[in-house]
């Protein structure tokens, strides 16, 4: 039953699993190094772009008033969104005791942390005076003035900050027993290093007792947090007066989208990674099938949300809303508008077919489309809505520049840099949780426990 619970074709002993995972940490392959250098390169591009922005001002980026937010905020929402799938899988599915999460959750959780780290950069990059961003924090200062907690941006500060902290705790937490396992297999300085990280984990009965409770509570805390964070992000828009932003549907719409985009990214990351790290047998069709099903579900949520947006715009009879949505489909940004609908609402429908769900190539292609689609969703929501607000005289279009793309590339570099380093340094597959799924040998045959 254990095998069934874990999924087909995995008949490995505890010892084998340990060695499999520890093997992923052995000397890196050429491909891996190439990828890492690529990531660092991209990151440098972003860094240089940012320095220029810091020197001259945001003018270099493609802002055309009234479009005061554009690619940077798009990236922010995009990356925050990515984060959500990780926590969904590691925390929410943990509460649901869903068996297939065990193999993939470590990777997705790492993705979460790094995605949120990336997202966290953008509010700073996009503000006009980056060097005073800390004024958004409620710290006692000589001016005796506090921030404005009525501003959705303040909620953001707290939401994203909390999310980053707690999900990092959660990641480190689950990591400890595995790091201990690695420690006991490693030698020399690496052993010393892992020993530090493992904080002296031995796996004694007491440790496991507190560990499993704490893990449960953290998961329970993270579950509402996941839902809240992207709701708060969506309120950045929904709390405003801008036509097509000012909608009650936004919170669920954004959370759905976030998880959808996250799942897309998970697949994009895992499909190559499992090959590079040679853990195909640990992360296999069974998991991707389930991932794909989840993607399909959220994809349908997207489909529904899009149609609702248009329906509400039409039904409200509000001329501003109607104009905005008409222009979203047929205005200057029609291409972006349709990209988002095709990539998100339509592509995901392919996942109804088991053949496509279980064929990794097709999954990979679809996941790429999802990433693109979700980036454009945010782009459309932000840019095309801002480009035509209440006063026609002020309407204008955006033309992005090198500064926008530079920062976008940089953010991908920054994200992959961390993810790749993590994948090489720490067990990307949760050893102890997989072991938990595979029963230990018994003296008296039969007498199955549980």
């Amino acid at each position: 039953m254990a095998t069934v619970a874990y999924g087909p074709n995995l008949t490995r002993t505890h010892a084998e699993i340990t060695s499999d995972v520890v093997a992923t940490l052995s000397a890196p392959s050429k491909g891996y190094l190439a990828a890492l250098f690529g990531a660092v390169g991209l990151f440098l591009i972003g860094l240089i772009t940012f320095i220029i922005l810091l020197k001259d001002g945001l003018g270099h980026a493609g802002y055309n008033p009234p479009i005061m937010w554009s690619v940077y905020i798009t990236n922010f929402v995009f990356w925050v969104g990515i984060g959500h799938a990780g926590t969904l899988i590691s925390a929410i599915l943990y509460l649901f005791r869903s068996p297939w999460r065990t193999a993939v959750y470590r990777a997705t959780e790492a993705m979460t942390v790094f995605a949120v780290m990336t997202a966290g950069l953008f509010p700073i990059i996009h503000i006009g005076r980056q060097w005073v961003f800390y004024w958004l924090l409620p710290y006692p200062n000589a001016r005796y003035i506090w921030p404005n907690f009525k501003s959705p941006l303040m909620w953001d500060v707290f939401a994203v900050g909390t999310y980053l902290t707690v999900s990092t705790c959660f990641l480190v937490f689950g990591l400890i027993p595995d790091v201990a396992a690695v420690r006991d297999r490693a030698t020399g300085w690496r052993r010393a290093l892992y020993a530090q990280v493992a904080m002296g984990w031995t796996g004694s009965d007491n440790q496991w007792r507190h560990f499993s409770r704490a893990y449960l509570y953290l998961a329970a805390l993270l579950t509402p947090l996941v839902l809240s964070v992207h709701s708060v992000v969506s309120w950045d828009f929904a709390m405003s007066l801008v036509p097509a932003w000012h909608g009650t549907i936004f919170a669920p719409y954004f959370v759905g989208g976030a998880i959808y985009s996250g799942l897309g990214m998970v697949m994009t990351l895992l499909i190559p990674l499992r090959k590079v790290l040679k853990v195909e047998h640990l992360i296999n069709d069974y998991h991707f099938d389930n991932l794909a099903k989840l993607t399909l579900l959220t994809g349908c949520i997207m489909f529904y949300s899009y149609s609702m947006e248009y329906f509400v715009a039409w039904y409200s009879g509000n001329t501003f809303e109607q104009t905005t949505f008409f222009r979203r489909a047929f205005g200057p940004y029609w291409w972006a508008g349709w990209t988002m609908i095709i990539c998100n609402a339509l592509m995901s429908q392919l996942l109804w077919f088991k053949k496509i769900r279980t064929n990794l190539t097709s999954l990979f292609v679809i996941s790429i489309f999802i990433n693109i689609g979700m980036w454009f969703e945010r782009f459309v929501i932000i840019v095309s809505s801002l480009s035509n607000e209440f006063i026609p005289w002020a309407w204008d279009g955006l033309n992005p520049t090198w500064a926008d793309w530079g920062i976008l590339l940089g953010s991908f570099g920054w994200f992959f840099m961390y993810f790749l380093l993590f994948a090489r340094t720490f067990p990307i597959v949760a050893i102890q949780e997989i072991k938990e799924m595979i029963p230990m040998p018994r003296l008296r045959s039969g007498g199955g426990h549980h």
């Binding site: 907690f149 009525k150 705790c169 006991d184 509570y217 805390l221 003296l443 426990h449 549980h450």
Partner: protein
């Protein structure tokens, strides 16, 4: 029973390692019948079977989480309300103190502090300050179950014999 705080002094005792979980559990039960309470049982993964055998009660972690949550919630509301009264500024024609928007802040702080305290409590309760060389074997984090019994020089032989009968694949005095 006291907290399993890190033991600096070396404790003499017997360390047995098992391959079979049922054997290990039987051994634990037997020892506890003898009235030995301060066993240490090592497993590479959380196991209900072992826990049942060791007969653990509840973990105080939940208190940390609860207190953290309450603190966070209070702090969240107190901070926002007090700060907006401290220098009243009207925005958007709204009243200076409006609870609704502050719920977001309070909620986030609740989760934040609860989460941190849980982690902190976990660390406090679980981790000894240094890895104990004695009474531990690297294979316990791999595929073996280990049982350590503190014992005086006199009783080590008897315990060793007991473990071998119980099906331990390896027994040594530590």
């Amino acid at each position: 029973m006291g907290l399993p705080l890190p033991r600096r002094r070396e404790v003499p005792g017997v360390l047995a390692s098992f391959e079979h979980i049922d054997a290990a559990c039987d051994a634990i039960r037997a020892l506890r019948k003898e009235g030995r309470r301060n066993l240490t049982v090592y497993t590479s993964h959380p196991s209900h079977e072992v826990e049942a055998a060791v007969g653990h009660t509840w973990s105080p972690i939940r208190l940390f989480t609860l207190i953290g949550g309450l603190t966070g919630c209070t702090a969240g509301f107190a901070m926002t309300l007090w700060m907006s009264r401290d220098w009243p500024l009207v925005v958007g024609g709204k009243s200076v103190n409006t609870v609704v928007p502050y719920v977001a802040i309070a909620f986030e702080l609740t989760v934040l502090i609860a989460g941190l305290l849980t982690f902190f409590g976990m660390a406090l309760l679980t981790f000894p300050r240094a890895v104990r060389k004695v009474g531990f074997d690297p294979r316990f984090t791999d595929d073996r179950i280990g049982i350590f019994v503190p014992a005086q020089a006199g009783e080590t032989d008897r315990l060793g014999a007991f473990f071998r009968d119980a099906g331990a694949v390896e027994v040594r005095n530590a």
